[in-house]
Each structure stands twice: as C-alpha cells, then as structure tokens.
Symmetry: D2
Subunit: 357 residues, 4 copies
C-alpha cells in the first residue's frame, strides 16, 4: 500500500538506485496553477549534498511533470511527477548485499518478501521522501489559495532544545533551526556525531496556520490521527506529539484546558485540534527522529543465513536525518490538510445546497 490520502491522494513509487522515483497525485482540483519552479524549490530544500550537515550524495532532484496539467493549470486528472536518479553508486552497497544493517529495514524486507533490492535500501530508502516533497508542494499550492500555510523547522538536536520558535528563521539556517540562539550548539552536536562516525537524533516542529474550523472526519479519520499516521510513517520517526504532547500526561485539566473567549482560545495546549478537528488555532506538531541508523562504527549483525557478522558501513549518509526530514514532515502535513479540505466539503446539507445552486 503505497497510497496516502482519501480524496487528495498521493501514490509514490521508486527505489533509491532504480531508474526513478516519483508520485501520482489524484484528486487535485482543476484550475490550480501548477508552478513548476515552486515544486522544484521545495525539492531543493530537501535535496542532499548541499552542505556538511547532509549526505554527500549529489542528486539533482530535477522534477518532471508527466501528466495532469494543460497550459500550466491542473486539469482534474492525475498529476505524475518523476525524478530520475542520477548519482547512484550502487557499488557502495555490494558489501551489505547479504547482511542486515542494524536499525534499517533490510531485516524486515528480506523476511517479508524473500528478496530485496539492497542498493541503498531500495524502496525503504529516505530517497523516496523526495516524491512526498514534490507532492506536498502541489498540496501547498492549493492550500495557499485558501490562505493556509504550513511551516517547519528543527526544534531540537541531541536533546538541545529551542527555547523560542521562529518559523521565519529556518530558511536562513543550514540545519533549518527554529531558534538562532541554540543553532550553533545544535550544529556542533551534529558535527560531533559525524566526526565520531556516528549520527544523532532530532526533533522537527510543524506549524499549520489559518485553518478553517472543523477539518477532520468522524472518529476514524480524525485530523490528529491522520497527522500522526503521516508523521510516524516518515523514515526514522519514533514519536509524534500534538500541542502539549507528552507533557499533557503530567498536567491537571485546570492547567491543560484552553479557555475560550469571544476572540478565540486564550492558550493553545490543544495544538489546534479538539475532538479530532481543527479548532481554528495553529496546529503544532513535534516529530521525533531517531539518529540515522547508517554509521561507520563497527556493529554486530547477522547475514541472510543468520550467521553472526560485523558490519562496517561505507557510503554517504546524513549525520542527522531530522534536518532534511523536517521538510518531509511539512510536505506530509500539507498533503493531510489538502485531503481534509476536500473531505470536509459536503459536511452539511446547507453547504451542499449552496454548492449546487
């Protein structure tokens, strides 16, 4: 199952070292200006090989539109975006052909499918997330027409936490930091890990603003539930928090409830969601990424014959997958909201009558 979303859906395809990766977007409304330069600019934010904080793999990540547009506009038909792989060094992986890299999907894919494309993790590679970013860019184009914005940044690295979140700052930061004051310490943590042939975890924070009230569907396609699914499904994510998140379990209701006033909510412990629906306030998510499992330190593992081996990885890897991962979170959030915007239409008889008459 490689599709996500009900009405505004994305289906991705492709492997790290195959011919191409890409996606098909189904449900994009007709008449949306498909700004190709914008899509490319979003991909460029996630693109590897740009500095010392990311893998040295240099992918151009040039997006090509194969279908679904006409004279610059979406037509209501499926939009296919393709990114051809260019800098595959499959040779790097011949030494892990028969062994399972700790912390990776090698072990589970092999046991589920009986075979696997071992080159760069194949389908389970984070490279696939470029397709999510390409698709998310189109979602963001649609949301922008409604005034909805989705922003992201890095709030923590190796436990070094941002004290204040400035969502305008990440574009100025090589590690997409949200807090200029801890940025250097966070960078140092990444480089320390890298220099130790290790890697380090981090936290992305997402902010979604200017939502209509009431996005989220019934009790099993709740906005928070689907956002959690979207985030937890991103490579290396191990925890998702909404609003007060993990702290809420240590609070009293008198501390955690958000008083309501005629001008809106006084506080936002809820993180913009009540009863599984947007309440009009900013949605705030914290997404925890584990450290990139690919490290150059000797590790214990087994091979496909279940014999004990030692793994000494080579190749090119991100010392902190959270950094570029934050862009993926932003893209997935945009895809969720676009879907919820479409699903919400038709919630009331009055809305339907207005639409058709």
């Amino acid at each position: 199952m490689n599709r996500f979303g009900e009405r505004f859906s994305i289906t991705t395809f492709g492997e790290s070292h195959g011919k191409a990766i890409g996606c098909v977007l189904d449900g994009v409304p007709a008449g949306l200006v498909i700004d190709e330069a914008y899509i490319q600019s979003e991909l460029d934010r996630r693109k590897p090989g740009q500095n010392e904080f990311a893998t040295a793999r240099k992918e151009e990540d040039k997006v090509e539109i194969l279908s679904g547009t006409f004279e610059g506009l979406s037509t209501g038909t499926p939009i296919t975006l393709v990114i051809y792989n260019t800098d595959q060094k499959s040779g790097d992986y011949s030494n892990v052909k028969d062994i399972f890299r700790p912390g990776h999907a090698d072990f589970t894919y092999f046991h589920k499918y009986g075979l696997r494309d071992y080159r760069g993790g194949g389908r389970s590679s984070a490279r696939e997330t470029a397709a999510r970013v390409a698709g998310g860019a189109i979602a963001k184009l649609m949301l922008a027409q409604l005034g909805i914005s989705v922003q992201s940044g890095i709030s923590a690295i190796h436990g070094i936490e941002a004290q204040a979140l400035d969502f305008n700052y990440p574009k100025n930061s090589l590690i997409y930091a949200l807090d200029k004051n801890v940025e250097e310490a966070q960078k140092a943590a990444i480089l320390d890990a890298k220099n130790g042939h290790d890697s380090v975890g981090g936290v992305a924070t997402i902010k979604i603003s200017n939502l209509p009230i009431g996005l989220g569907q019934g009790l099993y396609y709740k906005l928070d539930a689907v956002l959690a699914e979207a985030m937890m499904g991103i490579n290396a994510v191990k925890a998702v928090e909404i609003g007060e998140g993990i702290h809420s379990s240590a609070l009293l209701a008198s501390q955690n409830n958000d008083p309501i006033t005629p001008k809106g909510f006084k506080t936002n412990h809820a993180g913009g969601i009540l009863g599984g629906m947007s309440n009009g306030d900013d949605i705030v998510l914290r997404i925890h990424f584990k450290p990139t499992p690919s490290i150059f330190i000797d590790q214990e593992s087994v091979n496909t014959d279940n014999e004990s081996v030692h793994v000494s990885l080579k190749g090119r890897h991100d010392p902190c997958v959270a950094v570029r991962g934050s862009i993926v979170c932003e893209s997935m959030a945009a895809l969720v909201i676009a879907d919820m915007v479409l699903l919400n239409m038709g919630s009331t008889m009055n809305g339907i009558k207005n639409y058709y008459t």
Copy 2:
C-alpha cells in the same frame, strides 16, 4: 468516516445518550469461535462505575451479537455488536446545551456541522470507545489463535513513572498499574485531582508479543504509522511513542541501533518495528493521555452566540481518562494487528501458490 482498517475493519456507531452504541466488524475470517463471555469480560475491563477512579456513570455495557455468527462460529459475514445505553442522565447536560466546554469537541462539532447532540458529548463521547473494545475483543480472539498477545497497563500518572513494567499486574490494580511500587502514589495523584474538582493525565503502555516478522504494508500503511493513527485517534490522546520514542531524538545511533545476533535483537530501542514492519520483537507503545477536560472548576468559555460565559460543569467524569483508556489502546492495537495479519497474506508469489494448491 467511522471505519477503521482495510481487511479486518471496524465501523462504529452511536452516541453517548442515544439508544445504543456498537460496531460492525467486516473481514473476520470464518470459523473463529466467537466467545461471547470473553467479549463481555473485555467490556467489563473498560466499564465505568466500578470504583472511585472512574466516572460514577453505571453502564451495564452488556454486549449483544446481532449478526455474523452461526452456532458459535464466525461465518465470514459482518459481525454486529450492540451495546444499549441504559444509564443516560441527559438532564445533566441541559446546562451546556448552548455553551462549549473547554477541552471538548463541542466547539468544533458545532462549527463543522451547524448542530450537535450535546448530551454527554454525543458522538465525541469516550463512551464510543466501548464499541472499540468489543471489536478489539474479537481481534484478540483471532490473534490468540496465532499465539499473538496484546497487553496494556498504566505506566505513568501525573508524571509519576513506573520504574519496571509488569504486564501481569494491571489485572490486580484498580488503576491498571504496571508497577506495584508506584501504584499507590499514582492512585493518590488521581484522588488528589478528583478532590480538587480537577482531573489528571497519564500514560498507557502497550506490549504486543509473538508477532511474525514482516507485518506492515508498503510505505503508507506501515505498522508504526497505523498504530500511531489508531492511538492518536483515541479520545484525549496527545502523543504516541514507539520503542525509544521521544528519547530517540536525543541519542546517537551507536546508542539507539539494536545489534542483531543469530538469536535475535540484543536490545529493543526500535520497539519491535523496523522500516514500518514488525521485526519479531515485542512492539512497545507509550500513549499519552491529557487530563479529562470535564472538571468542576469554573472555566471561561463562549456560547453558541460567541458571548463570554463561565462554565461550571456537573455530571460524572473520570478523574483520569488514561486508566480506562489503556484498555481502548489495547483494543485498537489488536484491531491494527489483525488487519495487518490479513493484509500480509499474499506478499509473496510462493505464499500465494502454497495457499491455493
């Protein structure tokens, strides 16, 4: 959208103060012994009104099977479970008819739908979760046939954390505590909140054992993603962690990767999931519940005319929703695993050929 699951699916219905709540299970394999007493016993674990740590609302929560079984066995057709509401005191809610209770879904439902069943929260009431528990019981019956177990308990209340987890202990504890040594402190925290007309948050931990390797589908129906969706969709949940969870973002890979040996994984930071699939180890989830929003302390809010009001709730509420919520988490986890068990069949050509020949 009130359905959950692809192949083993549950659709729930019903409101807190309507005639009944219930669910339809679709995709239950034929030939499963449907042990009605077991389903009832699961409901009894979630049942309100049993002690001072839960709401005083006394619901019998007697389950009735309307369809899908014949001579005690599932037939492969939809199984409908109904629980009639008996102890509705709708009068308790007349005072909140036109106002929005802070921390509740009142505000969002009203704005989305233009009207709402205000009695006890209507559809958004945690009462609906009884239907999840009934459905989850059937999932657990199926999983038991494969040797898979799903267990739950309370690991933290108001920040008071279990130091060791004993999944055999909760059945002896009125608050389903996992650690006998902190149980009394956790109980005290709940009663303190209750006595202060307040409520308190907590954390449930779920353990799923004896899974086959490879459950989880593709990149958008990953096991971790769907578990996160399932948990975050439960009333009052604000964060979900898998394995090392939030701590993983503060670790180095050399600390977080699980070495593999011919006898299995040496550690379980992954929480039993790699690349979105079960790796054969125990799956461990931590689910953070906010404090029950219904409290008897004066709160600021607005009414349906957006005028400032003060809310003084009455009624019967859980002082800590996490306690009974842990049973719901367990049930949802069972539903997810049952679905994944079915979806996983047909992953390989060899498996298909063996099945049909």
Copy 3:
C-alpha cells in the same frame, strides 16, 4: 467487504434468519431531515407478503434508527438502521442443510468459508436488500433536496416488453409495471410460472432525473461503472444496460451519437452519461434479473459430501424476483448518486474557494 460507496457509504449486516438485518450510513451530511415515515414507506414498497406476486413470508420490516440523528435531523455521524427479523421459519430449511440448492450461493459460500448459515440463504438471502432500501431512502431524502429524483419500474417479464415507460404507473401496479398495456400479460406470465412450481425472470428500468452535469470521478469511479457495479451486485442480476445498451453494439455512430443543441441533447442514446459522467440528461438503466432459483420442481444437485442428490425445495419464494428487485435497484442508484454528489464537490479550485470563503 460489506461496504459500498466512498463518501456517502453504506455498510450492511445481517442474515435472513438471524436476529436482525440493518445498515450503517456514513457520510450523511448534517442537517438533513430524517423522515422516518418516508424510510418506512420505502421499505413497505419492497416488503414481502403483500400479494400473490411475492413470497408469502410476512415480514413487518419495521425500521428502527439506532444512531446518528438528533431532534429529527442528521448530525453528520453514522446513521444506523435496524430491522428485526420476525417471521423466520428456520425449520423450512433443515432439509437443505447439507445440500446445495441449484442457482443459489450455497455451493460457493460453503466452499469459500467451510461453513454456512443455511437458514434461508443466510447472508446471501435477498432479505439483506431491505437494508439497502432503508439506506437508499436516506439517500433519496438528500437527493430530493437537490431536486434529483430516482424512479423505477418493471419493463419486462419473461420477455414481455413494455412498449412505453410511464414512471408514474408502478405505484398503481402490484408488479410495479411501467406499461399498463402489457401489465396483465406480465402478471399472467408470473402466475403461470408460479402455478408450474417455477419462477420467471424480468427487467427493471431505472430513471434518474435532474442531475447536475459532471457527476462521476476520474477513470475508475465513473458514474456508469459504479452504477453497473451497484446493479450487478444485487441478487439475481445478470446484465446491466445503460442508454441504448445492448443495441448500441449493433448500431452505427451516425445512429447512436446524440446531437447537441443549445437546448440540450436531441436524443438520449447515451442514457445520460458521457465519458463516465452525467451529461444532465436522464440516466436510464435496464437491469436483467434471472428467475428466482428457488423452485418446487425436482432438481439435480450434490450434498456437502459431493454425492448426487435430488432437491425438492419447500419454503416461500418470489415467483419473480425482479418485481421487488426493482425497488432495490432504485435504492442502489440513489446511493450511488448521493455518493457522486459528495465526491464531485472539490472538483475545481473555484468551487473550493467559494465553499470556504
């Protein structure tokens, strides 16, 4: 899989001789007046035991609403409709416990599931279609608000074809005939079959009027495709035609194309659908029902041990399942259109902007 529809969906449950049959409707917009008397009146049209042209089984088919409404209006939550079985004579079926009735689902259910509820066909009984009619009634209530009507009637029995279709006439006819001039001949054909301990086939025609242009989604949820699925899925249906139907394969395009004028289409060979979407003209469907397989004539069959047996059915059966089946076709058509109405919202960026601003 016992659910139908994407956004306005119905899930049915129940067996012929179980406690109850019913359905859960998910996606019904809030604020629709749920006219219980109307739903009952629709069920009464399908109800058995009313005259010599239908089975003598006397089911009251009294509908009860279990959830989803408040003060007479839909609330946007799942609407559950239940019909309790009252006139089950399970004893009638003990003689077919171990044998497969020709033309019935007995053989396939037994081989698929390894067991079956043999009483009255269990789940595969046409009794389940009462749940479709109940759900279809709510779809019709919604469509009526948009001016859309769905009508049905019998066009042919045993090859005796209506020469003109009058959709106002069926309510006056015990066999829901569309053409008064052939009604008596059609009735005679049914009674002849009945008197010969046999049964006979027939054709229902459906007309859907006043549709907006453009209902139907993409290339795989086309309006014609989904209508075909809906109709072919009804018990005993063996062919579905749209517009010119089977005749279209014998025509030239110059005969079959519908010229377009500023006032609309000159002819309607297309049956109201072009490119899988409604074109604004009436949708016309012809649905062919085979004769009820239950007959009182001796038939060859096998038992569950695959031994040769002779079947002599007893029980109460419709001599022409098409008659009451026409109501089911109408209901399924209404469910399809209601779904398409919701799905169509959000097809254009302009439509979305208007909805949200």
Copy 4:
C-alpha cells in the same frame, strides 16, 4: 479517482497528447518473474496503426519499467510502467478546441472541470487503455502461476453474431474474431462503416478459466459486481452480461438453473458465478461497445458558448472500437481476478493458521 482494485491495484495516469501514459501497480506479490517481452506483446495486441480495422495513428507503445523490479523479479514494491507518446498530431484537434464532439466526453469534462485538454480527448481518450493493458499483463503473469487463464475475442459486430466461440482463433484474426465463419461478414461491416465515414459497434466476449471456487468478497465486492464495474468503465461500453445475461430475464428457473453433479455443473447459465463468487466453472462475459463516436459525417453540436455549430471531425479513429477494446476487457478482467485472488486469502481461520505456521 484513477485507481482500481483493493489489494492488487492499478493507478493510471496520462493524456492522449501529453508526454506519456502509464500506471502504478501496487500489491504485486514479490518473486514474480516480470517478463518485459510478454508485457510488450500484450501491448502490441492493443496497438493502433496495424491494419485497416484500426486507427492509423502509429504509436510504438513501447513500455518501460520505472520501478518495482530487481534482477527480473517483482520486489513487492510499486511497479511503474510508462509508455511515452510519440505520434501525437495535436494540430488535428485545433478545430475542436471550443466545440463538443457528440458522443464524447468533451461536454461533461468541460462542465465538470471548467477547462479541458482538448487534444485527442485528453485523459478521456481510449489511449489510456494502453496503461490498463500493460498492468493487466502483469496480472496475467501472476494468474498464470496459478493456472488461471483469461481470454477474449470479438463475438459480434453490427449485430452479426458468432455462432460458436473459439478462443484460439482471435490471434489469427485481424479483428480478433471468435468465429471464423462470420469473420468476413464482420470485417465487411466494419469496412462498410468506415467507407461511409461512419463507425460501428460490437461485442467482446471474455472467458476466464480454471478459477478456484469462492473468489468474490462479501455483498459489495462481489465478483460479478466488480467485473461489471471494470467492464462498464472501459471507453464506449454500454452493457455487460454475465452468463445467460439478458436472456436470463426471459427464462424460467427450470431453464436457467444449472444442475449440479459430483463432476461439476451440467450447464453454465450462471456464467461461472453464484452468489457473487466464482463457482469453479468458466466465467463468461459479454461486453457491448457502442460505435466509436468520432466520425467524419457532419454532426450537430454546440460550442463552449453554447452556440449551435456543425462538427466535421478529422483525425484518425478506429472504425470499430470493440476490436481493440476486447484486449482491454481481457486486461481489466485479469486485474479483477488478481485482486480477488489476494482478497480471498484469509477467508477462513484455518487458512490463516496454515499460512502463518
């Protein structure tokens, strides 16, 4: 919605005169030999420009695999097939830019989406069906492993009916005729229509053999219902018959029921399906295609300003769309069966236990 199938699913994309058409197959089991030459050979059967009975448009229809295979085997990940468009003569369509061709989707697409890619019908072009054939080829590869075959041919053209069906003959016939004895008359009917600047309708017949008993899911994903959806969704199809089809409505049950013997069914009026499930006998479908709406005769229509116009089409079109359409029917049938094969796994508790132990 451009996806078809639940577990073995196809999502197609692309327009007649865009860069490419193609599909993503999701759910293909791992370990299937992906025979690229076979896929190409299937496309070649549908390919235009091969003789006087098809459009002169010469598309190479060369398939390229973008993802999902490794060393010649499927890996369990999405398989993407792309066919680049090469012989687009968009200029041919400039004269229909602002007018609606009778019998085509122009009218409905324009009204639904507010704009359309008018070149060659854009997305609604039958060219998209090449993607279905490519996907269907992979489904056929999988089915072949289970011994299941899907065959097709032309049974009728312009009312000239085959008297006997020989499924080995179509490969020898330029019009894929099933009956050598009427082949020449059928060919003449096509050429007559073509010479008259007209086109003609026809009927394809599909035969699916060697199915396991019990394929088909519940009451709303019945095998017959989904086959009907698959067939009716193909361009130009206006009627679908299963087994006795339209004749069943004129028969008595004593004529239509299939007696069962220890060696199987004596007759096959049912067309291989009982109660929505395969009964082990051959599935036989008749699919009625209307004449290609594109003809070179003057026709009445309107333009996008709803003004009366006369249409004189140019371009290259099939004089009988049923001929190449039969290959598409075969492909869609294969996709349906592959899906049902996967869905059927897990129908019984015994089957599940055997699979996992």
